[in-house]
Symmetry: C2
Subunit: 222 residues, 2 copies
DNA sequence: ACAAAAGTGTTATGTTTACACCCATGA
DNA sequence: TCATGGGTGTAAACATAACACTTTTGT
C-alpha cells in the first residue's frame, strides 16, 4: 500500500478554495448554476460549484478553471469577496474566494462532476436551501453584479452574439433588478459603445430587428 | 528537545496572509506605512505590514489585527484584492489578501516589530523599492481608495476630529488626486451629510474656521 | 495696511429621466 | 386587420462644474 503524500507545515494552513457564482438568464429571469452535493457534509443539498486552489495557479485562474470544468465555458470572472469564517466548513478550515461570472446559459455544457450528483440552473428569486454559507455568497454576488452592471457591459455576456437591443435590455434589467426605458437604453448603449450595430437584421416573430455585437474595445475594460 | 508541532495535510496548502496598505496624509500628501524588513528574503527592503491568518479569525479580522498591532489604531479595512502568484514569496507559497485602511497618521503609534528593523511613512509619490509584489499591491490600493473616496467619506478617517472643511478637502483631494472647488465641496459634504457642523470655531493662522465632525450615520455605510 | 485663509450664490452645462406614436411583419 | 414587438425625439428635472468677491484675523 502506498503511503499517501503528505504536506507538513509548522503552522496550521487553511485550505483555499474558490466558489463561483455563475449567472445566466432565462426568459428574462436571472439564475445561478448550482450543484447537488453527492457527499457529506450537506449531502443532497445544493451548493455552488467550486474547488481547491492548485499549486501552479493563481486564485483567479482557479476560478476560471472551475468555470470551464463546470460549464465548458471560458469567461471573465470577478472577485466578489472572501469567506473565511473559521467554522464555515465542518471538515477543516477552508477559506473561499468567491467569484462571479456571467455566461450564456444555453451555451453552457454542464458537467455533473464526480462529487456532484446533479447540476442545474436555479432562479435567483427561488433558491433552494444551500450548503455552507453559499446563500450569503450568492447574496453578496447579487449585489456585486448589480454594481458591475452599472459600470461595465457584462450583460452582453449573458446572451448569445450577435444580439438585439431588446435581448440586451432584458439581460441588463435582470442584472439591475429594475425596468429600463427602451429609448434611453438605446442611447446609453450606443453612447457608451457597449455594443455596435452589425449590418444585419434578425427576423423575429414580427418586425425584424437590427443586431449588435460587443465592442472589441470592451474586452479589457473594467 | 521538543518536537515542533506539525500540521499535516493530504494536499498542499498555501499559507494565507494579509498585507495592509495604511494610508495617511501629511501636509496634503498621501503616504503609506512601510516596514523595513529585518530578515531574508528582501532583508533591508521596504515592505507592507502584514501577517499570517490565525486559526480563530476571519481574514478581515486578521487585517484589522495587523493594523492594530502596527499602528495602535482600530479602523475599518477594505478588501483590495488577492495576490496569489505561486512564486510571489520565494520561501513558500503565500496567498495574500490585500486590505487598505485610512488613518490619522499622527495618531498612529508605530511599532517596529520583531522582524521589522524600522517602520515609517513614505509618500505614495516617492516610494522606495519594495519587497515581493508590494508595489503592485500599493498600485491596486491607490486605485481602489480613489474609487472608495468618490462614494464614501473615508477622507474623514485621515484627519483628526473635529476638522475644518479645508482639512477635509485637502484629504479628499489627496485621495482623488485632483483639486476640488471649495464652494462645491462644502455643498457636497453637507448634502451627503459626510460631516455635520459642530458648534465651535478653531482659531487658525488667520480667520477662525468652523469645525465639523463625522456624521454618526456614516459609520456603517458602504 | 496687508497677507492669508474663511465664507458665501448664481449661472451654464451636461446628464438623466419621463413620455407616445408610427412602422414592419406574421398570424 | 390586428396583435406584436421595433424603432424614433423632445422636454423637464436634476446634478455637476465653473466662477469672484467680501470677511476676519494675525503680523
Amino acid at each position: 500500500m502506498l503511503t499517501p503524500i503528505q504536506y507538513v507545515y509548522a503552522y496550521p494552513h487553511p485550505a483555499i478554495a474558490t466558489d463561483i457564482v455563475v449567472f445566466g438568464i432565462d426568459e428574462g429571469k436571472l439564475g445561478v448554476l448550482l450543484i447537488k452535493r453527492g457527499e457529506e457534509p450537506f449531502k443532497g443539498a445544493w451548493a455552488l460549484p467550486g474547488g481547491f486552489l492548485q499549486p501552479d495557479e493563481t486564485i483567479e485562474a482557479c476560478a476560471r478553471r472551475e468555470l470551464l470544468e463546470e460549464t465548458g465555458l471560458s469567461a471573465e470572472v470577478r472577485l466578489v469577496g472572501l469567506f473565511s469564517e473559521p467554522m464555515r466548513d465542518p471538515r477543516e478550515r477552508v477559506v473561499s474566494a468567491a467569484y462571479l461570472a456571467c455566461v450564456d446559459y444555453r451555451a453552457a455544457r454542464i458537467r455533473a462532476g464526480s462529487d456532484a450528483a446533479h447540476a442545474g440552473w436555479h432562479l435567483v428569486a427561488e433558491l433552494p436551501e444551500l450548503a455552507f454559507d453559499h446563500a450569503a455568497i450568492i447574496a453578496a454576488s447579487r449585489n456585486r453584479v448589480r454594481e458591475l452592471a452599472e459600470a461595465a457591459p457584462i450583460a452582453t455576456r449573458l446572451i448569445p452574439q450577435p444580439f438585439t437591443l431588446a435581448e440586451l435590455q432584458a439581460a441588463q434589467e435582470a442584472l439591475l433588478g429594475r425596468p429600463l426605458d427602451k429609448r434611453n437604453f438605446r442611447r446609453d448603449i450606443t453612447a457608451r459603445q457597449w455594443a455596435i450595430p452589425a449590418n444585419a437584421q434578425r427576423r423575429g416573430k414580427t418586425r425584424s430587428a437590427g443586431v449588435f455585437a460587443t465592442c472589441s474595445t470592451n474586452e479589457n475594460d473594467d
